[in-house]
Each structure stands twice: as structure tokens, then as C-alpha cells.
């Protein structure tokens, strides 16, 4: 088994990815407030984005400008994640709009309170 600190130094991004996904999913399941659930969803998505971006890394890689000498980092994951971020922003916007409507209707964002009121 390698030294955990050395592993953290060399694979820190993967540790952060695992933490973000885990914390995000936990908040999503555990939180009572609907807005906090949306925040958990965002954390979860950000973790996945980080995994993609990390996969583009290479030692001594530069920005992929053809006028510069290589080696380049892989630009494709960055492009994919730009798309995924746009998707994530749209989802968040719709989620918050729905949360506003839930609040207007029930006067609370707490899931347990809404359940008590009865649907």
C-alpha cells in the first residue's frame, strides 16, 4: 500500500471527485429543504465534471493551441464539460423556478412540512 499522503498528492483530483459525488448525493437524499436538495444535485454534477476534466490531464501538457509546441492536454473533455455545465445550469434554473412555485403554494420549502400539510 502506498503512502496515503503521496496518493493524495498524485491523485488529489480523484479524491475530490469521490468526495463531491458522495457529499452531493448525501445532501440530495438527506436534506429536508428543497433548495438544499438542488445544491446537493449541483455538487454531485460538479464532481462528475471534475472527473472528466481530470481525464484530460497529462504531465507537462499545454493548452491545445496548434501554434504552440506540444504536448497538449486533451481538449475534448473540456468541450464536453462546457456542454454539460450548460445543461446543469438549465436544470438548476428550472429546479429553482419550480421551488419558487412550491414556496408560493405551500409557504415553505421543507419537504417534511409539505408532507404534513398533505398534498
Amino acid at each position: 500500500m502506498t503512502d496515503p499522503l503521496a496518493l493524495l498528492a498524485s491523485h488529489g483530483a480523484y479524491v475530490v471527485y469521490a468526495l463531491l459525488v458522495g457529499v452531493g448525493l448525501f445532501v440530495l437524499v438527506d436534506a429536508d429543504s428543497l433548495v438544499r436538495k438542488v445544491v446537493g444535485l449541483n455538487l454531485f454534477q460538479t464532481g462528475v465534471f471534475l472527473l472528466f476534466v481530470t481525464s484530460a490531464f497529462r504531465a507537462d501538457g499545454r493548452a491545445p493551441l496548434l501554434s504552440e509546441p506540444g504536448p497538449y492536454v486533451n481538449p475534448l473533455p473540456h468541450v464536453l464539460i462546457l456542454t454539460a455545465i450548460v445543461v446543469g445550469v438549465s436544470v438548476t434554473a428550472v429546479a429553482l423556478a419550480l421551488a419558487v412555485r412550491v414556496y408560493d403554494e405551500y409557504g415553505t420549502l421543507s419537504e417534511s412540512a409539505i408532507e404534513e400539510v398533505g398534498r
Binding site: 462528475v48 472527473l51 472528466f52 473533455p77 445543461v87 429546479a95 419550480l98 421551488a99 412555485r101 412550491v102
Partner: protein
């Protein structure tokens, strides 16, 4: 001619702007435009299907880039069938059942059709994620078009669960990309084999893809969004989502499992097959049990979908040619039956009946609707001469051929359970007393609903006829799908 593939997605996607712009000033024109676009989509789908029938699969790479880096579109016989299903259901339910059409609502309807068509035609796994999210966002917003707190809450829960599903799928795509360095389905197939099916990366990728699509399919235990969303949505939206939403995710699961990971993967990783079969059994058991507890008919039909998708998963898990054909036929059968049933619940809800008990004696006032509901339920149970029977027969046959006795008995048990819930609804409709004690339709709705009411009855009847026609012609459907499935397996 392969440019038509790009049009399949572009027509509803770009057209979705029109009703939004026209809706505020010229609502009539907006509705006519939406109807014309949806009918145009049906025509396009028919032309594409005819071209595929004549000359084999069509493919197209957006922007003319090489397929490995560009975004490819591909339509073979299986995708053509689902593209046609999406187009016909989108247009049929719009013309036949759409009530309270608004400009923005019609835009969302078109976006949903565009997203679902995209999932069916794409040959790129990341592109599939984007289309999954386009259709998902349109679906969440459509559920929330009924302006009640319940609808907003159900839409938000649906969004949270649906996005988690899509993100898990994206995670699977990430693992595939890290393992192979490509996203094109045709390139992934040999690349995944070269990496080795036992590689943890490949196994994790498969697990994440199945979990992600499983959420969209509402497999047990991530099924709770479905009854909430379908019960809270307006009847026309519930019909569209019940017909197409999970069906297309089911198509994506079949496509990825057999066209990207291939049966070689399933053979090399027995845990993957066992997981699929276990999820299928759990779906059948949970869906079947929960249907028996429901009093609200819309929730009952949603749980019936959970049972049906459990059966589809059993077909995928068995992974023989007959079983995969069974899964595809069951997807089509469930889509048709559920579309019709939710239109019927809308019609009966206008008369004030939303529960199984409330359906008592409705056949006397609504003979056509009741008869069609009975036919659709017959198909869900899997009795001849409907298309549901063809699907279930193939699945049972595949299970027996594979010697999978547990699966075979689960299929038979599912028929018993389906008979129990379907029998309960049909018995109430025809034999229940209390047709006179019904709540009269609200006076304000009477005038406005007369049109959609008649159209809806016609739609439900057409669905019932289609279920029987496809059942009698099920060999044609199987022969259409079989060449592609036989290449996979």
C-alpha cells in the same frame, strides 16, 4: 439522403421556437404550426424508415467531421421503429388528446419529441446524454404546466431524480471515455473489447450507465417519481410521458448493452447479467405488489409501467436474440397501451372519476372508452390477440429456451398479478354499480371540453385497434426488428 437524419432532430428542435413566438398573439396559428410540425415529423420518420427498409442503415456525421471525433447519427431498423413510435405518439396525442394548448406548452411538446428522437438516432454516447437532458427538461416543465402546488412539487422531485439518473449515465460515459478515448458507439464496441471486459473501468462504466438509465426507466427502488409525476401532470402530458419517456430510455439501454458493450461483455461479466435480471425481478415484484394497493387509477397505471419495465429488463438480462426481441416488442406494446390508457383516464376524469372505485359502472356512459381500456389492459396482461401477448410469449419462450426457470416463473407470475389489477379495473367499469351517483362535470368545463372529449375517445379507440392490429401482425414487427438483433447476438 442521409441528411434527413439531421432533419429528424432539427425539425422539432428548431420548430419548437415557433409556437413560443406565435402563441402570445396568434394562439390558433401556433396550434396549427405545432400540428403541422408534428405531422411533418411523422412523414420524415416514414421516409427514413422506408429508406432503411430499402437500403439498410443510414448514417450521417454532423458537420462532415470524421466519425471518431464528430457527432454521428445512425438509423437502423430498430432505431427507425422507435423514431416512428415517437413521431406517431407525439403527433397522435397532440391531435387526439391535447387540451389547453398554449404556445410555451406546445414548444415543450416539440422539444420533448426532438429530445426523444435524438436519443433514438444518435450514434454518440455523450450526445445521447445531451438529448436525454433535453427531453428530461421538457418533461419536467410539461409536468408543471398544471398550475398547482402538487404539480410543481412532483415536477421538482421528477427533476431531482431524473437529473441524478442522467448524471450517473454521464459518469458511465466518463469511465468509457477514460478507458477507450472515444465516444462514438461504433468505435467504442471494438475499443471496449480491446481494453478487456473484465477491466474495472469497463465494468464500472456499464454499472453507471445501467443505473443512470434505470432511474429514467423508474426501476425499483428509484421508481417513486413516476406515479407522482404522472398523477400530477395534465392527462395529455401524462399520456405522452407514459407512452414515450421511459420507453426511449429502455431503447437506449438495449442499444448500449448490445450495440456498445455487446453480449461478449455480458458473457464475460456474469455479475452484470445477474444484476440486470435481479433488477428486473425486483421491478416486476415491486410494481406488481404496488399496483394492487392503488386506488387512484393514474398511479395504478404508473406502477403497472414499473412492472412492464421490469419485464423489459428481464429480456435484456437473458440476452438471447428472442429475449431482446421480446424486450423491444414489450417496449412498443407498453408505449401504445399506456398512451391510450392515460388519454382514457383524462376522459373519465372529466366525468369526475379518478379512482378504481369511481370507475364503477362507467361502461354504461362511455362504452367506447371502457372497451378500449379493456383492450389496452388485455395487452398489458399479455393475452392474445394483442401485441402485449406477442412480447410476453417471446419473453417466456426465451426464458424457457435459456433454461432460466426463475425468470420463466416470474413472467408467468407477472401475468397473474397483471390480471388481478386489470381485472379489478375492468370489473368496476362493467359490473360496478353506481353509474348514476357520478359527479356531474363542472359546468364551466362542459363547453370547452366537448371537442377534446370526442377527439380523446377517438384516440383511445384508435390505440385499441392498433394494439390488436399489431398483435395480429406481430410477426411483421418481429421480422422488422430481427435482422438488427441477430447481428448484435
Amino acid at each position: 439522403m442521409s441528411d434527413l437524419l439531421a432533419l429528424l432532430v432539427a425539425l422539432p428542435l428548431v420548430g419548437a421556437l415557433l409556437p413560443l413566438v406565435l402563441g402570445a398573439r396568434r394562439p390558433g396559428l401556433a396550434r396549427a404550426t405545432t400540428a403541422a410540425l408534428l405531422l411533418g415529423q411523422v412523414a420524415l420518420a416514414l421516409v427514413v424508415a422506408a429508406l432503411v427498409a430499402a437500403g439498410g442503415p443510414l448514417s450521417y456525421v454532423v458537420g462532415g467531421l470524421p466519425a471518431a471525433v464528430g457527432i454521428g447519427l445512425l438509423v437502423d431498423r430498430v432505431s427507425a421503429a422507435f423514431v416512428l413510435l415517437v413521431a406517431v405518439a407525439g403527433a397522435g396525442l397532440y391531435l387526439g388528446a391535447r387540451a389547453d394548448a398554449t404556445g410555451p406548452g406546445d414548444s415543450l411538446w416539440l422539444l420533448l419529441v426532438a429530445g426523444l428522437t435524438g436519443v433514438c438516432v444518435t450514434a454518440d454516447v455523450f450526445n445521447l446524454y445531451v438529448f436525454l437532458e433535453i427531453s428530461g427538461l421538457a418533461a419536467y416543465a410539461l409536468v408543471a404546466t398544471r398550475r398547482t402546488g402538487t404539480a410543481a412539487l412532483a415536477a421538482l422531485q421528477y427533476l431531482l431524480v431524473g437529473t441524478v439518473g442522467a448524471t450517473f449515465y454521464l459518469l458511465g460515459v466518463g469511465y468509457m471515455y477514460i478507458a477507450t478515448g472515444t465516444l462514438a458507439m461504433a468505435e467504442l464496441r471494438p475499443a471496449l473489447a480491446a481494453v478487456g471486459y473484465g477491466s474495472p473501468l469497463v465494468v464500472a462504466a456499464f454499472a453507471f450507465v445501467v443505473v443512470g438509465l434505470g432511474v429514467k426507466l423508474a426501476l425499483f427502488p428509484v421508481h417513486a417519481w413516476k406515479p407522482d409525476a404522472y398523477a400530477a401532470a395534465p392527462a395529455d402530458v401524462a399520456a405522452l410521458l407514459a407512452a414515450l419517456g421511459s420507453t426511449v430510455a429502455g431503447y437506449a439501454l438495449v442499444r448500449l448493452t448490445f450495440d456498445v458493450f455487446t453480449v461478449g461483455f455480458l458473457a464475460a461479466v456474469p455479475a452484470a447479467r445477474i444484476g440486470l435480471l435481479a433488477a428486473g425481478v425486483a421491478g416486476v415484484a415491486a410494481g406488481g405488489y404496488l399496483t394492487l394497493l392503488q386506488s387512484d387509477v393514474r398511479r395504478l397505471f404508473a406502477y403497472s409501467s414499473i412492472l412492464q419495465f421490469g419485464l423489459v429488463l428481464l429480456g435484456v438480462g437473458l440476452a438471447t436474440a428472442t429475449a431482446v426481441l421480446a424486450a423491444l416488442v414489450l417496449l412498443v406494446a407498453n408505449a401504445l397501451a399506456k398512451g391510450g390508457l392515460y388519454v382514457a383516464t383524462g376522459t373519465l376524469a372529466r366525468d369526475g372519476a379518478t379512482t378504481v372505485a369511481g370507475y364503477a359502472g362507467r361502461a354504461r356512459d362511455r362504452p367506447a372508452v371502457a372497451a378500449s381500456v379493456a383492450v389496452a389492459l388485455t395487452s398489458l396482461v399479455g393475452l392474445p390477440p394483442t401485441v402485449g401477448f406477442a412480447g410476453k410469449w417471446l419473453l417466456a419462450l426465451a426464458a424457457v429456451e435459456a433454461g432460466a426457470w426463475v425468470v420463466a416463473s416470474v413472467v408467468l407470475a407477472s401475468t397473474m398479478v397483471s390480471l388481478a389489477y386489470a381485472g379489478r379495473v375492468v370489473e368496476r367499469l362493467y359490473l360496478g354499480e353506481g353509474g348514476d351517483a357520478r359527479v356531474p362535470p363542472a359546468a364551466t368545463d362542459g363547453g370547452a371540453d366537448a371537442g377534446p372529449g370526442r377527439r380523446a375517445v377517438a384516440t383511445v379507440a384508435v390505440v385499441a385497434v392498433a394494439l390488436v392490429a399489431l398483435g395480429l401482425g406481430s410477426t411483421l414487427l418481429v421480422d422488422w426488428l430481427a435482422p438488427v438483433v441477430e447481428v448484435w447476438i
